[in-house]
Amino acid sequence: MTIAVSNLAAAAPRALHRPQVRIVIVGHVDHGKSTLVGRLLHETGSLPDGKLEMLKAVSARRGMPFEWSFLLDALQTERDQGITIDTTQIRFRTPSRDIVLIDAPGHAEFLRNMITGASQADAAVLIIDALEGVRDQTRRHGYLLHLLGVRQVAVVINKMDRVGFAKARFDEISADITAYLAEIGVTPTAIVPISAREGDGVAARTPSIAWYSGPTVVEALDTLTPAQPLRELALRLPVQAIYKFDDRRIVAGRIESGSLIAGDEIVIMPAGKIARIRTVESWPATPLATRQHAGQSVGITLDRELFLERGDIISHAKPPRDTRRLHARVFWLHEAPLKAGASIVVRLGTKDTRATVVAITNAVDPGELSSTGTDQIARNHVGDIDISLAQPVAADPYAENARTGRLVIEVGGRIAGGGLVLSVDAGERAAPVDIVPVESGLSAEERSGRYGHAGAVIWLTGLPGAGKSTLARALERRLFSRGGSPILLDGDTLRAGLNSDLAFSAHDRTENIRRLAEVAAHLARNGHIAIVAAVSPAAEDRAQARRIGDELFREVYVATPAEVCESRDPKGHYAKARAGQLAGFTGIGRDYEPPTEAELTIDTSERSVVEGVDDIERMLMSSGVVFTEVTDLAANI
């Protein structure tokens, strides 16, 4: 069969301005995806010289009839099993498009490969066998296309030759699939009757389908458009890394939406810090004075030294929300079902954090469209979940920004699922727009002039009985007697009041530390030295406290050996824990994660209280918190 487009490939040199559209062909196993791909390559003149002949010869040698799908099934293992097992990328041209074709397997076993392929696509072709009609995998793939954000879907009804090219059968299946897609919010761009094996409807309307007046497959592909970068939305620049290869401190990342230019005022979320872009860095030419848009990988320097890290999102006046709670619609690919209470890792852009599945509010087998209850999401099923995050993240609802509103879930270091952020729900948190912080009327210099020190958070961490409270009290006395303003924040004391709603689960411990850090940081920003004595066993919780305290934070590791701590047992906790009356007590039942980057380490089995306080005071002096020349500074005011 000769088709008009067959010599287009050789007609002109590849022009870079032709729109390139990445498409995926999906559908139930054996409905003819690979055959359609093989046929499309042939009809568009895209096969390398000799490939068709070579495969025909191989088929003959094996005593098998030639199949178009052999073109794709280049792997030995695939031919042995008769199934396409992975995504391949093949290119061909329609009259006005360069098509990158991503084949995706239909076998349920390989849904992860279908998702890998389809996630890269601008558009999809959903293929349905005219004999079999809409099957479970047809529905599953349709549903996943929707979740993956593929908005353009063309339907082809294949193997029309097997139903005598009957228009009635075509109409029946068209109605089925249209109704199904409408339920999940997808409108097909075309529904085309074809025979991939014989060629009807692929590149030409043959007499067999004379009753059909719509586009051929090639024509349908020719109307698809590439997905556009989100230029019109608000700026979102997730931070990939901070580089200091030379004297520049470059914040690197890819602009996911919006644009930026040197001089812009920016907000860094989730902390909500403000800065200005000093330069846009590049190589070999740098700096760049031009505006940088969505899709570009950039590097920027800021006008001030701020603590920021991988996973932060840089924005303009309309920042993403910061939250520790997300509601998401996820698809699940892991062998073991996802259950409420599961510990997972969530990756949202460049941010990753430990998280807990708080609840599953709905679970569905998209192949059957039946609800499967709310206790778990099985492999290859989808569901809605509430997630509690160990660290605050910046995120948008998917409906507002597709790039910063999607996440993946990792289990055991391997991607196990993905999904869309339905809502960013801080629950008890007030909308940022309603919060107008009132800054103090006193300047930092006024305060430090009076106290002889700048504000700081002294964070004493260590096992129960290590001597944290004793050191804290002695330090408080020392600083006070030299005219300073120390304030003691003891973990247990705060639990009696401010934190009385918290218990000892991992989540509550994290929240306890967060509140301590917030209070301490507030005091420190107002010139006081907040002395926190808290076991704070989790390195991640302390890292969060450091983020909150930022440059005012000083960590002191009270590294008294465990056996010494237990022999002291000032509160009788070790004895109770040994007697089994204190579950989850740090020091016996739980792991304490020792700090690796503490500003100071003190072992109170080797240093007296006075020596320990001396050590802390020296550290405060050398890092500029406590002034050695008190009077001189006071005179400068």
């Binding site: 792997l75 030995q76 890998t116 990988s297 999607r406």
Partner: protein
Amino acid sequence: MDHLDELEAQSIYIFREAFARLKKLALLWSLGKDSNVMIWLARKAFFGKVPFPALHVDTGKKFPEMYHFRDRYSAEWGLDLRVEPCPPIGAVDPTLPPAARSAARKTEGLKDALAKYGFDGVIAGIRRDEEATRAKERVFSPRGTEGGWDVRDQPPEFWDQFNASPPPGAHLRVHPILHWTETDIWAYTKRENIPIIPLYLAREGKRYRSLGDKDITFPVNSDAANIDDILRELASTKVPERAGRALDHETEDAFERLRVSGYL
């Protein structure tokens, strides 16, 4: 952004993800057009500096022009060059056909380098359009402790989220230019003015389209005297890029067998 800008931005993103998430990276520098583009992209990603070693797994059988190129540009580009020699042919699977067996030396050399330096990530310049089995690759592709590739058990990879936690003793292959084509490579080489080995340009009616060991790599017929000529040639040719690479054509599955055991 034009097509090349998009490809470049995506590759830079992959480089930065690899550098952020893996501890000890190396970039495989084969000296060919693809790995030179890759080094260029790494310099873009890291503002002029390549912050990990460039590893040349040396069969000792490259063309003299290639060694000359390596020594000149490793200095000029400020690379931390590590050259790893390959074991003799006797150390390689004797059931492979001759050219594949010769190429498999490179796999063994790479395994030696991995053991010696303890790299947990190896950046390689393969492309999906080169060869059917490469089309099935992930951007972050886990390898077993023996360096093997299990094509049937590849983890899902979507939305630029990569699986970057290789089990102890295993490593990851990272493929920053997987989505590029041969035409893209040449168009970008021209736009960015990236140096190339002159063997790619025609002399006496023949040029090399792909460079490997001199005893198993052959030139193709061509009159392309510069990159523009190459781009025009690629627009009309239907000859596959690796036509001059003997190991691809020995048996139906020779290349696949090489890849499963850790070849690029």
